[in-house]
């Protein structure tokens, strides 16, 4: 793959940002958007707009077809068995809330346990916490080891006969650890426990095969996959979507509505109440095509090269401390500089156009465990180059200079 050509497909890099060439190292937060995605939104609104799934006029039928085409594209991209296993949501957060809410309603009661890990994003903890409040369930956390990874053994250690569901990240947005999800699913299934994978950081960077992983649920964020904001995907095995109750009530998700009672629609409509983020769903098809064109293997290889280069470079930089050292690691480098708070690092780097994130990255449990209130994080996407990492390193040196280190 030619990164220079790929970068040209992203309009954000056309112009200077605050008089600097943009060095965008915040893709774990949200990725930039290729022109095809932005154009697709514009074209849909200007030439093809109509609501989907309701009216019978020409535009409505055409829009419905486009909307459903994205469902099929996603199904193929993640190798799901059936297109009805793809539910559109407003984001991965809603996808996890959907499962926690509906699974919780039907299968969780007082004393039952939900097993998470210490490195979960708040979006894979808070929805389960609601059930702790409402149903008196317990939440257990599989521990991270000194390298910032969660092993299969750490998961196994926390499984009890009360464990009703396991919900874990595919790839940590802080340490970059890639969890052994296939083995976790095998282990859980041997004990009849379903598994949800928070795939926010997995889907943009790793090859996905739902039938191979065999998880019960997989949550995807559209805006981290070069797609628009306002769209996420819940993959769920058909047996679960048929079995679980609906999540939100409204138009589009019903079969028959009478004063005496209501019956719900067929899949996938059952979980898509109200007018969905139509333009975003349709444009997300372009994100999938964009990633397919480059090839996920090439993306993985490119980001691994960047990661190795970045780790080597930053390890050589005195006073930089890299957080975690997982054996299987995605394109995320979290770090601290002794004597400089991560927010000061982020502000100083920004002055040179180097955009990183600082804070607890929505992972307070993990930061408490690491005994760090905050870290700085550089994360990669398809458009990043080794030159970006050199600029990061230079900006870190400037930071050290300002703080007299």
């Amino acid at each position: 793959m030619n990164v220079d050509d790929i970068k040209k497909e992203f309009p954000i890099f056309d112009d200077k940002i605050q008089n600097n060439d943009l060095v965008y190292l915040d893709s774990a937060n949200s990725s930039q958007k290729p022109r095809v995605v932005v154009d697709r939104i514009y074209d849909f609104y200007t030439k093809e707009f109509s609501n989907v799934g309701r009216s019978v006029h020409y535009l409505a039928v055409a829009a419905t077809n486009l909307y459903e085409q994205t469902r099929v594209s996603v199904q193929k991209y993640i190798n799901a068995k059936d297109k009805d296993e793809i539910v559109f949501t407003k984001g991965a957060t809603e996808a996890i809330n959907l499962v926690a809410n509906t699974f919780g309603q039907k299968y969780l009661s007082e004393g039952d346990e939900v097993l998470l890990t210490e490195l979960e994003h708040h979006s894979n903890y808070v929805p389960w916490h609601f059930l702790r409040k409402a149903k008196n369930i317990r939440i257990e956390f599989a521990e991270i080891n000194d390298d910032g990874e969660v092993t299969l053994e750490a998961i196994e250690k926390k499984i009890t006969n009360k464990t009703k569901i396991i919900s874990v990240s595919h790839l940590s947005n802080v340490t970059g650890a890639i969890l052994p999800i296939k083995q976790i699913v095998q282990l859980a299934h041997s004990k009849n426990i379903p598994v949800l994978i928070d795939g926010c950081q997995g889907a943009p960077h790793l090859k996905l095969d739902m039938q191979d992983i065999d998880c019960d649920f997989y949550a995807i964020s559209g805006h981290k996959m070069y797609g628009p904001t306002g769209i996420g995907i819940l993959y769920a095995k058909k047996k679960w979507l048929e079995d679980l109750p609906p999540y939100q009530g409204g138009g589009g998700m019903i079969n028959e509505v009478k004063k005496e009672g209501i019956t719900y629609g067929e899949l996938p409509n059952k979980y898509e109440a109200g007018t969905m983020a139509t333009a975003q769903v349709i444009a997300f098809n372009e994100s999938i095509k964009f990633m397919e064109k480059i090839g996920i293997q090439n993306i993985e290889k490119h980001e691994k090269e960047l990661l190795d280069y970045g780790l080597e470079k930053l390890r050589k930089n005195n006073s930089v401390n890299i957080i975690g050292n997982p054996k299987e690691k995605g394109g995320v480098i979290s770090f601290t500089i002794k004597g400089v708070h991560p927010h000061d690092i982020a502000t100083i780097l920004d002055e040179d156009g180097v955009a990183i994130r600082a804070g607890h990255h929505c992972c307070q449990i993990l930061h408490d465990k690491l005994n760090l209130p905050a870290t700085a994080r550089a994360s990669f996407g398809v458009y990043n180059t080794k030159d970006d990492i050199d600029k990061l390193d230079e900006a870190i040196n400037k930071c050290k200079k300002i703080f007299n280190l």
């Binding site: 708070h341 100083i348 002055e351 804070g359 607890h360 930061h367």
Partner: protein, 154 residues
């Protein structure tokens, strides 16, 4: 924007070696403040004597250079002042950080004003304003005996 305006020597000095950091025993007012977006937190302790004068003041917490320096300078500045005066200084400081070009209060001496004005660089960095104001809001909360934890997002 110029980083030198933000990270002046005095800020770096107070950020690195914050004055009045810690907790003392006989405080009679205190309050906590959080910045949920960055995880910064501060706990202000003070002793108000029978004449409503700040006899002693200190703070615990962690945060960036701006927030530590701001708490450090603030605690230095209000020690020995009466509650009424402290509130006037807080209002004046917050007004300066938000919109005004200078400090107007007559309570502070010129060199004290210069010290406080060193924090005015954050005006050019909207995301960092809350770093500079957290300890000040928390001080107000302590004086008002509020049980509410101060949040910068409010």
């Amino acid at each position: 924007m110029d980083l030198k305006d933000l990270y002046q020597e005095i800020i770096l000095d107070h950020g690195k070696n914050p004055r009045n950091l810690g907790k003392f025993d006989n405080y009679n007012k205190d309050a906590k403040g959080n910045n949920p977006l960055c995880g910064d937190n501060v706990h202000v302790y003070l002793r108000l004597n029978e004449n409503k004068k700040v006899e002693d003041i200190a703070f615990e917490g962690h945060g960036c250079a701006i927030s530590m320096a701001s708490a450090s300078i603030m605690t230095d500045m209000v020690r020995g002042k009466e509650e009424k005066e402290v509130k006037e200084i807080v209002t004046d400081f917050l007004g300066m950080i938000k919109e005004k070009d200078s400090l107007e209060t007559k309570i502070l001496k010129d060199d004290e004003k210069t010290k406080l004005m060193s924090l005015s660089g954050v005006k050019q960095y909207p995301m960092r304003v809350k770093c500079a104001t957290l300890s000040w809001h928390t001080l107000t909360s302590a004086l008002d005996n509020s049980d509410q934890i101060v949040k910068t997002e409010d």
